[in-house]
Symmetry: C2
Subunit: 227 residues, 2 copies
DNA sequence: TCAAAAGTGTTGTCGCTACACCCATGT
DNA sequence: ACATGGGTGTAGCGACAACACTTTTGA
């Protein structure tokens, strides 16, 4: 790839969420340059002059993880005068949802010092990244109620308990198992694959898939998806 | 004011909503320079190098209308390569909600050729402004359901019919009068001022105010505001 | 046989919808 | 007196919350 010009007052930052072992986590990178050397930070970078804005966070995510075709959403744009220590930089924040099961930590210069950290346990971050992270988490938590995005965090096939676990981690609520299952199945957008879990040391759960077509039909009928 | 440096690849655009005569309207400006001379456009401008990002749309709104202390919210940031014809410009879109009753069209070079246009009747717009406008309207329509922002469109004192009219214009639904009033009054956030409309050629309606304190309490109790 | 999670029904309550008529005011 | 919008109550239904035990599987 030829050298490309960066727009040097204009960056993107990514909050990459994943769900693993019952916890919502995000991916942070340990800074290896000044300023704020050694601190944890959101993965980010500048936008190229010949690159669509939305393409920049996807490129960054690919460089870090090798993943393509990932759900990303703009959180907001942050432009206080003093947000970056050395000069004026405006940044656009995106969040991404990845299936940790698909994820393989890429080996490369960019990917050194990557860490999945539980969102309940985020350390001090560089610059104003704590504010950016909080905004992304708040946005995600808001979206969860009206959009089945959290399926992007689960494997293609999942049990109803998996689903409940993710909802509970994102909404910070806890649901009654029977009521939760009734509600989910009544939506008519989860399709029983007939398969079951393997190698679990307890009764194996049925595995479901999200049925996108049924979901679109539901929307067309004017029905809401609400948790 | 001394000359200030503009960040010339970086702009803001404002979608300024108002509610008047039963219709949701937005404020557009007729362009008097190339490119797209003579077309309607969203009011916008560049961000100064020594100005917080969020301050830029407020400054622009003040220059146009003389209004300060207006509710503004970021809609999103648009950065496709070809969105602006002559060079690469990334723009942040905000929407504002103004009480048309407070508004006085300012006389000044910036304010010439300002037009309130019903959102159902928007003409062809310059550049990609139609896309920006649609995004702002969609965001507003989404927020209406979960936040009592539409009160920013009404005078301080309003009748329940005024309120219903705004809800209907924003949600594109129509509500049963009795049910609507019960729902609103049950929320406990509208306070009867004891005053009534004047100079109406029919029975005068009671006037209500939004009770911010009661609203905050409601949120603390974990109750939702949902329409 | 024990541990661990899967799976399953009923009942009461509350909020929503549907629906039609009289009232106050200005012209 | 008429036109215009303001203001009101009830009954039925459906969605949600609360609640505890049996089943399956591997160790």
């Amino acid at each position: 790839m030829a050298e490309r010009t960066e727009i040097d007052n204009f960056s993107i930052d990514c909050v990459i969420f994943g769900f693993d072992k019952g916890e919502l986590k995000a991916l942070f990178i340990k800074r290896n340059t000044e300023p704020d050397f050694g601190q944890m930070a959101l993965p980010g970078g500048f936008v190229y002059l010949d690159e669509d804005l939305d393409a920049a966070p996807m490129r960054r995510l690919y460089d870090l993880t090798g993943l393509t075709n990932i759900y990303m959403k703009q959180v907001g744009t942050f432009g206080k005068l003093d947000r970056y220590p050395t000069r004026r930089v405006i940044t656009v924040v995106y969040y991404a949802l990845v299936r940790v099961s698909d994820y393989s930590m890429k080996v490369g210069p960019d990917a050194s010092e990557l860490h999945w950290i539980s969102v309940n346990n985020v350390p001090k971050l560089a610059f104003d990244h704590r504010e950016l992270f909080d905004a992304a988490l708040a946005k995600l938590q808001e979206q969860v109620h009206i959009d089945p995005i959290l399926l992007k965090l689960l494997p293609k096939e999942f049990s109803l308990s998996d689903l409940q676990e993710v909802y509970e981690a994102l909404t910070l609520e806890s649901f009654d198992k029977r009521n939760f299952r009734k509600r989910m199945l009544n939506l008519g957008v989860f399709h029983d694959t007939g398969r079951k879990q393997k190698n679990v040391s307890h009764r194996a759960a049925r595995l479901y898939r999200f049925d996108k077509k049924a979901y679109k039909k539901m929307l067309k009928r004017g029905q809401m998806f609400a948790i």
